[in-house]
Symmetry: C2
Subunit: 261 residues, 2 copies
Amino acid sequence: MTEWTKLNEAITEWFTVVQQKLRTSDQKPLEIKQKSDRTDLVTNVDQEIEAYFVKQIKTTFPDSKILGEEGDKDNGLTTYPGLVWVIDPVDGTMNYVKQRDHFASMLAVYENGHEKLGYILDVTANKLYWGGPECGVYCNDEKLAPPKDLPLSEGLLDISGRMLVEDYCHVKKAVKASLGIRVYGSAGLGFIHVLTGKTLGYLSHLHPWDYAAGKILAHVQGLVVETIDGRPFDMLSSNDVLVATKNAEKDILKQLDRPNV
Amino acid sequence: MTEWTKLNEAITEWFTVVQQKLRTSDQKPLEIKQKSDRTDLVTNVDQEIEAYFVKQIKTTFPDSKILGEEGDKDNGLTTYPGLVWVIDPVDGTMNYVKQRDHFASMLAVYENGHEKLGYILDVTANKLYWGGPECGVYCNDEKLAPPKDLPLSEGLLDISGRMLVEDYCHVKKAVKASLGIRVYGSAGLGFIHVLTGKTLGYLSHLHPWDYAAGKILAHVQGLVVETIDGRPFDMLSSNDVLVATKNAEKDILKQLDRPNV
């Protein structure tokens, strides 16, 4: 097993560089391209940050496999007996493009199929949420206490705008049982808000790079992370993912009309 | 007419104190009470901040009338031939209670029925958005350029969670014509995001203290602020308020099924 401290030392240094790159990118015009549709964007900055991470990983930990949002994908990812890295260079690209705010940069490390370390950088706040089962969860240098295990009736719920508008699985029923909804448009911020108790749950259709880091941190903090159709996570495709406090999770699932359950 | 500089000098000093009060309140437990329902809250901090503003106003500008969210209300507000102040001590109280984040403090000054000065303090960011027709709009010391007049198809829309869940006036049609929705749960932040071009529009059911400051700033920046039923603003009751770029406003109204229009 790789020492987590050795990994963390390198990764923390990369995130210092990434924070700097993403803040100074404010001043430059972006090259923006559409991916699957007009709301699914990629910019030159997404690609540059991913290339930076890939280069650092391949240099520092050459026996690694990589899955990146912007196209880096090794074979044999799910069966690889070593380090597997999942990169989301800019999470919440629409917010990044339209707001230069409310976005994140994320990295997750798995070893021999197990959760090792997760990193979510809130760029505007310059706060790096990071940790793993061997070390606990931190915001920058400060250890985070696990959030209170509150029921849905005592807090806010973060749901993807698309699920809300389509009333996917009758999510509105869960919303009505909560104190209200928030929609921030970034999976990284969605996970951060549940980790810090600002919301009790976050529900969205996510790709592996959207949830890989958050899942590790959430597990360490005693939160539930699951697909709402009850299937195992598939690291090679997208899933309807719920992260929530244990009590809120029970309440939310009671309200949802879930597929195949 | 009162010199805007004289008003601004005093108000800016009050907001320095309010920023400090709201940040240090993080460490104290809150006394929370329900107002109209379980999602409509007031805390001892809301009341303390309002009392602070009222005291400063009455001391510095004794010939003033005041309308405050937490109960301060003079008679003859709409007809008063002098300074009228509208106070929202903590805007986004649910966020303040549950997140200690994503909330604002707001103050508006009208003179002889005319818009004079508006102030929105984003406490987490420690940014005061302020200005009026005589001086322009600033974020702290930096003058803000007006946001680009983009159409709805080129940006994000902020809608109150309740309107979205109820599909009020078919707001979903407007959402689908945009690049997506965001729900932040604070009118102050809602106005700030449109003022800074982070969203193209904000739509919510608002009380006068929720929109009084934002309306002044939005008008200076060339944005449209209106009730969606087309009636004049009623400073003594609540309204369905839309603030948007001119182009987005046209696009949004085309999609909405508005009452009495």
